[in-house]
Symmetry: C2
Subunit: 205 residues, 2 copies
């Protein structure tokens, strides 16, 4: 009887192996040989599951995105204040532990490739728009008087920036600073007595 | 009589040629052959000016950093309000025209390499600390009641994040949004009647 291989499980293992290679060596170091080594299989086997390296890269990226999205969605189930939910949602996207750091390394590699590849660049715009859309209702609940569309843009930019900096050199100090910077911003956005909404309106994506 | 070659000029030409290659193909595509092509010389000639590819990468990065620093320093000479000076300083670091976009492409390539290279990662921390230090006096002047150290961290993160997003897909819309997001943040930070300073203190770098 032939060995039964669960196609999805095997694909998932290959994707996770590629995360580890990207985290250690960047996207430039992601070769089929290294993925195979990390997944403990032959390079020939990889081609049963993915047509080429580019397909593995995209699958790795989508898996990272969907993992972060799942964690963000669970924030709604928390028994917490709207401010705590907003902050928890942002925390899920900061590189504060090994798993999230690995995700950031994949993002950094992806951005580097996207900067020279228009179709990946468009994929990045979609990700940002989807992320901002997830944040808007959290912001509306946590800071009802604010310009939620603008605040979502600011938070998406801020988390991408401070997360990037912490992911590049993930020392305890840098991770602490990333979180303190985002928390400081959210505390100001959501505090009582904050006067008026931010003055600049943004058009939609 | 031998041809007189201005060493610094030639190095500068090679650095600018490497910017163009990085912008077009990412750091992974930066080969000595392509730099030589873009600089219109032989690869042998490159080694008169740089020991290896890594040295060219670092020189390219430092030249980008020093160009942005020079533009930021000139902001102090402007006959403008403290708020306008702060915004002008941030504008100098956003990818709003070809020159600054090229600089961003070099940054993105650098970050990708730094994520897998501890000494480049430390270089990035230094850059961030120096940039925050440049912003602090501008923030103190534009928003005297604010926590300038925290605001500098927020602005450095925000500009890195929204600049990154716009540099990856530099459409007119994305560039406009990047600038509107940063301007919206600065307008709120510096507006009259803003109550109190942000509540979370940050320790120094």
């Amino acid at each position: 009887m032939p060995k039964i291989v669960d196609h999805e499980t095997r694909r998932r293992e290959i994707v996770e192996a590629s995360w580890r290679v990207i985290a250690a060596e960047g996207l430039a170091g992601l070769t089929l040989r290294k993925i195979a080594e990390s997944a403990d299989c032959t390079t020939g086997r990889l081609t049963h599951y993915f047509a080429n390296r580019e397909e593995i890269v995209l699958a790795a990226l989508r898996a990272v995105y969907s993992a972060a999205k799942g964690r963000m969605a669970r924030v709604h189930e928390l028994d917490a204040s709207p401010q705590a939910k907003l902050l928890a949602s942002l925390d899920e996207t900061l590189p504060l532990d090994y798993k999230r750091l690995l995700e950031w390394k994949v993002w950094i590699a992806f951005w580097s490739a996207a900067a020279a590849n228009p179709s990946l660049a468009k994929e990045n715009d979609k990700r940002l728009a989807a992320w901002a859309a997830v944040l808007v209702p959290l912001i509306v609940a946590a800071a009802p008087g604010s310009n939620a569309a603008l605040e979502a843009e600011i938070l998406v930019g801020l988390v991408d920036g401070v997360g990037l900096q912490a992911a590049i050199n993930p020392t305890a100090k840098n991770k602490r600073r990333a979180r303190a910077t985002v928390a400081g911003y959210v505390a100001d956005l959501t505090r009582e007595g904050r006067t008026g909404s931010r003055p600049v309106a943004l058009s939609g994506r």
